[in-house]
């Protein structure tokens, strides 16, 4: 019975799409159902996909799993094996083929054969809780080389002709802290790809081998055509945007991801030239410079899908796009850079790309999401002396105000996939008292459409040597930016013992030791607002005040809305205030927060441009050192009106004079600066 085997055309393409989606969803549910890791079950940090014979993603689940792997390309690891029926291959090496993006991610792929011919691959990945290395759970920002980040499995066979590679399993179990959990997860992945294989056979039963094979290509082509049609409808041009993370290492300097978006006809480029050099911490992204590496494309996928949610989410969507990822930068780290916490940099790259799209399409894109979500973990001791650990949930901020609606509260946009941990579960599991959990008033950026509020959590620990980790801590300096007259969201905060004499501001620290009785307060970053706050309807502002999203004070100062003691609108005073605000304000394209304005007063675009131009000429291993020395030299030196690039050159020349390995200032840069000076 093969009622669908009438060939593929526009009336049957959606049928094949549905069948492939069914295969992917079935794979995903199988993996969720049988996996052991908490990462899989709680943060859904996994992916699975039907792949073309070349390794391009055709279908993946859409309502669960990680959102970063829409266009995942296994092409870097697929060649080099003579595949037979029953084989499964594996890798977790971020520097071999650029499929895995940090060592905890175990990727496997299985060829599917029909009538002796390889018709496609099915693949999956899981974030294992621990793969060995310097620290429990493998990941830490402070690690400096990939070799500290646990076991790296280069692309190799896990099964041959259906027979398990026992040597490899032995090797894995001797190198990880919880081998049974890894083994359980690996079994779940194998079950997942086996379901995928079976589902593919069901599809071929229905469509025939030929139609299935051409159909996979047709589905990529369809997404590509959708994508091209969408891109062609956007204005041609070039838009630059940069966003910053607070620290490039523990207590370090800010780090910048810069992107130039070029839209030309039905193609686009995201050029990350100008992004910071790779870091001596684990925040680097291992993209191998691949033009459509899935990590480099996350922001593009979010932007395209948000502009047109009818586009199919597969590799075809990113075919008209291309990333330029200069080697030796955070966007394309060179071995042996550590990459474990590449998620923070990936989040930053996403908001940078979203910002560039905002410049191109300010009337169709939302302001910056809060992003910068901290994943909070607590390690402490019970009264009985047992060490316990628990994830007490993500604490971040909302989505940016959009052109038609307020941002979602407490989470959203590029952090939409996260789930929280119930307070009652955290308190029942470990000795922690959560004192406060909810939204922070006045944290969402003011705007015609308000940015989503930040989330906050305050908790107390009771045992000595307790440890709090806040993975991906960020945005305590650089807030989420507003758009089209909207204001920035409030920065995040992380404080020990707030409102006491012993209060300590922890900034973007991500590991904190606690004494008995210590109280920790963490507030995520609020999201940016969209549009002039004065244009927000008075009644909407009053409702925000009644609901506690906005204080009466800020209603007055940010929105020009005056309320009386009973929170009724004082129309006359409001009219006066709004007229006043309208006169005073000069809203720019973006509404940046004080942290960024202060930083950019020193580090102007011209200076940063000069620095990154110098660094690209410096040997990779020297770059981080040079960046820090130049930053130190310019600390507090507000730039002159011309941008002050010459100061950077001068600082570098002073530095280079002391080190023979450092090259001179690139001649092009020197002559350009000279010309500018005249």
């Amino acid at each position: 019975m093969s009622p669908e085997s009438t060939g593929l055309d526009n009336t049957t393409l959606q049928v094949l799409a549905n069948y492939c989606a069914a295969a992917a969803e079935s794979m995903g549910w199988t993996l969720m159902r049988t996996a052991h890791s908490t990462f899989v079950k709680e943060t859904e940090d996994f992916s699975c996909q039907v792949l073309t014979p070349e390794g391009l993603t055709v279908a993946s689940p859409k309502t669960f799993g990680a959102t970063w792997y829409t266009g995942l390309d296994y092409g870097g690891v697929i060649p080099g094996f003579d595949y037979r029926d029953g084989d499964i291959c594996i890798t977790s090496d971020p520097y071999a083929g650029f499929v895995a993006t940090h060592t905890p991610d175990t990727h496997i792929w299985k060829p599917v054969f029909r009538d002796g011919a390889l018709v496609c691959f099915v693949g999956s990945h899981i974030h294992n809780t621990d793969v060995g290395g310097a620290v429990p759970a493998t990941l830490s920002r402070s690690l400096t080389e990939i070799h500290q980040e646990g076991l790296r499995i280069p692309p190799m066979r896990l099964l041959r002709d259906g027979v398990m590679n026992q040597d490899l399993l032995n090797l894995i179990s001797r190198n990880v802290r919880l081998p049974e959990q890894n083994w359980g997860d690996l079994n779940a992945q194998i079950a997942c790809v086996n379901v995928g294989e079976r589902k593919v056979h069901e599809i071929i039963d229905r469509f025939g081998r030929e139609s299935f094979c051409t159909g996979l290509t047709a589905l990529l082509d369809y997404a590509e055509r959708q994508s091209r049609a969408l891109i062609a409808s956007l204005p041609d041009g070039e838009w630059f945007f940069a966003d910053y993370a607070d620290e490039d290492q523990e207590g370090g300097y800010p780090v910048r991801v810069a992107v130039t978006l070029r839209i030309h006809g039905d193609t686009l480029t995201v050029d990350f030239t100008g992004s910071d050099p790779q870091l001596v911490s684990s925040l680097n992204m291992p993209t191998g410079g691949m033009e459509r590496h899935s990590l480099a494309m996350v922001g593009v996928v979010y932007a395209l899908y948000s502009l047109d949610p009818t586009v199919m989410l597969n590799y075809g969507l990113v075919r008209p796009a291309r990333a330029i990822l200069p080697p030796g930068t955070v966007m394309n780290a060179v071995e042996p850079a550590a990459v474990g916490m590449r998620s923070l940099m990936s989040n930053l790259a996403q908001t940078a790309v979203i910002g560039a799209f905002c410049r191109a399409l300010p009337d169709r894109m939302p302001a910056s999401p809060g992003s910068g979500v901290s994943l909070m973990n607590v390690k402490t001791t019970t009264r009985a002396g047992r060490t316990v650990m628990a994830s007490i949930g993500p604490v971040g901020g909302g989505a940016g105000g959009g052109p038609f609606a307020d941002g979602s509260e407490g989470s959203g946009a590029n952090m939409s996939y996260l789930k929280n941990t119930p307070i009652e579960i955290s308190e029942a599991e470990i000795p922690v008292r959560i004192r406060r959990y909810g939204l922070v008033a006045d944290s969402g950026g003011a705007g015609r459409w308000r940015g989503g509020s930040a989330l906050e959590m305050e908790f107390q620990l009771f045992a000595p040597q307790s440890m709090v980790t806040a993975r991906n801590r960020d945005r305590s300096i650089f807030s989420a930016w507003g758009l089209c007259g909207g204001q920035a969201g409030r920065v995040s905060r992380f404080i020990r013992n707030p409102d006491t004499d012993a209060a300590v501001e922890l900034g973007s620290t991500d590991v904190v030791s606690c004494d008995p009785g210590d109280i920790i307060l963490i507030q995520g970053p609020g999201a940016g607002g969209y549009g002039d706050p004065v244009e927000r309807p008075v009644e909407a502002v009053a409702a925000d005040v009644r609901c506690g999203f906005v204080s009466a004070d800020r209603a007055r100062t940010d929105y020009g809305v005056a309320l009386d003691a009973a929170l009724a609108v004082d129309a006359a005073a409001t009219a006066r205030l709004r007229a006043e605000l309208s006169r005073r304000r000069a809203p720019g394209e973006f509404g940046h927060g004080a942290g960024r304005l202060a930083f950019e007063a020193v580090w102007t675009p011209a200076r940063y441009d000069a620095l990154t131009r110098i660094l690209i000429e410096v040997p990779t291993t020297w770059r981080f050192f040079v960046k820090h020395r130049v930053f130190a030299a310019l600390a507090g030196h507000v730039a002159s009106t011309g941008g002050g690039a010459a100061d950077v050159v001068a600082a570098y020349e002073t530095l280079a004079a002391g080190f023979a390995d450092l090259p001179p200032v690139p001649p092009g840069l020197a002559s350009r600066l000279a010309a500018a000076a005249e």
Partner: protein
Amino acid sequence: MGYRVGVDIGGSFTDFAVFDEATQRLESLKVFSRPDEPGAEVLQGIRLIGERYGIAPEEISYFTHGTTVGVNTVIQRKGLRLALFTTEHFRDVLELARLKIPNMYSLLSKRPQPLITRDRVFGIAERLAADGSVEQPIDPTSVEAALEGARASGAEGIVIAFLHAYRNPAHELAAKAVVEKLAPELPVFCSSQTWPIIREYERTITTVIGGYVQPRVAHYLTSLQAALRQVGIAADPRLTKSNGGVMTAEQGKSDCVQMILSGTASGVIGASYIAQACGIPRCMSLDIGGTSADMALILDGQPQYGVGERIGDFHIFIPSVAVSSIGEGGGSIAWVDPLGVLKVGPESAGSRPGPACYGRGGTRATITDAFVACGLIGFSALGYASVTVDRDRARAAVGELGEKLGRSVEQTAEAIIRIAVSGMYADVSALVSRFGIDPREFACLAFGGAGPMLGCFLARSLGMREVVVPPTPGVLSALGGLIADIKNDFIATLYLDLDAAAAETVRDSFAGLEARAVAWLRHDQGYDGAYGLTYSAELRYRGQSFEVDTPLDAATVTAADAAGIAEAFHRAHERVYGHADRGARLQLIAIRLVISGATAKPALPRQLREPGPAREAGRATVWIDGASRSAALFHRPDLRAGQSFRGPAIVTQDDCTTILPPGFCAEVDEFTNLRIVPEAAG
């Protein structure tokens, strides 16, 4: 001895099942629903029962009723204006839900607007610890202040949900006492009394939804009671519950949270009864209407239960018959995207304007129109002559899409059907993987207005072994209510590490639940027959974030047998997740007890099997499986047990049309179900 009557009120039709306790005879009846005057359809039905079967209202000794008034109140957001009192500094439990955003790929996606806006949420100074001990005593003045605020905001009812109230209701009850004293006119709903589970959002939203629907449900039930008394029915009506049981209407007025999914649960109970009677061990019920398509698993004649069933934009966390949505039903609209690719749904024409072929203003092609355009339905009026099918309108609507695609009307219509079926296939496939089952071992029990129309197509795509179409597919929900047992769930959250001492706590806590359960059955429900108790516990491996509901036998419980409880869990975990870790430490989160008092079950009407070919009522030229074919037409009431026929064939009856594609054959079984199997297997 008397008559038992089950009634199910749907959006378009109201179904009656009538059971004669003396003769075991089962009859059914259908009238139009009267959304304009709820209750009128019930009275009309009672009148018709009198006329048709000679049954006087006073002879009706038992009356059950399933209704969608609860779920519709949530979907239409027409419930009570509530205020919520939470623990101070935890006001955003509804705003945040579990944080995840529905469409995680869109930067613009948002969680649905909460049922209680933040200006009506008030923090109360109080705090309990996770073990239920008092950390900070409740401050009554903060309750008074909150009440004042609630009144100022126009609240018409109060929900109280404090942290750890599942462990100790004292603070919630203290706050409730303050409200009842100062504002006796306001209804109060406490989370500890509604459903005391751990996890604050899940417990709070369940309580909020219960309170939100309460006045409408209570008003509705009061009107129904009055109407029934007026016509002389002495029996107090019983209400079908989300858990597949029944309770008194009187209790339904206060315990609304229990009856929200009343309607869908009844259908599955009815389907389960048929599956059991027919000896179908593994069954999926497929209930497709104009705007919804639902699937439920029925194993060994038993529906499956779960928590977290969907109610409009939200989920509710009381035990319910597990039903999963697999699409938008026969009214889903077909369209062609800018690149010329044909799509179906998610937009639906609903029941108004409905499919183009209904001639009620709809102009866009729906799945139903595609079937009409292929000539597969439209041989008699749909739904008891309420809707006449206009084939020209269907063809025009489909033809418009065909022009864009460069395809004939029939080709386009068939493509629409294939896309619709493949969409349902995708949803069912996901469920199959979620449950870890093999659809090839399952029969598909198709009902609802469009279930029998699509059943064979879906079963074919999934490789299911059989499609079963009951004699009156519309009446399954009414039947389900009629046969449902008097049933209630009880829960106690314990949160213990499983050891010998814990097993004793489990035993003692079950004894406490049992006393409450028996009191409920005997006193609240006035039931004095035999009853059954079902024990289960929610357990997990330490470190897991979800529990597995583990059935326990009475002996294990009374013996306080920790090892027995552990082994039961390992087996349950193995069954659901495919693996168990017998060396790992276990946590017991909650215990659950279900009490059920059996009601009399009707025998399904049987016919003697007389094998032979079914008599064709005519033939029609239809487009199916890529060609124009001659299909046999059968009139359902004419079909007798033992008769058989082959596809392509079309079976018409008052409330639905059954379609057999080529390659299927059907036989009428002794219960006059159509049993349809692929020929290769038949």
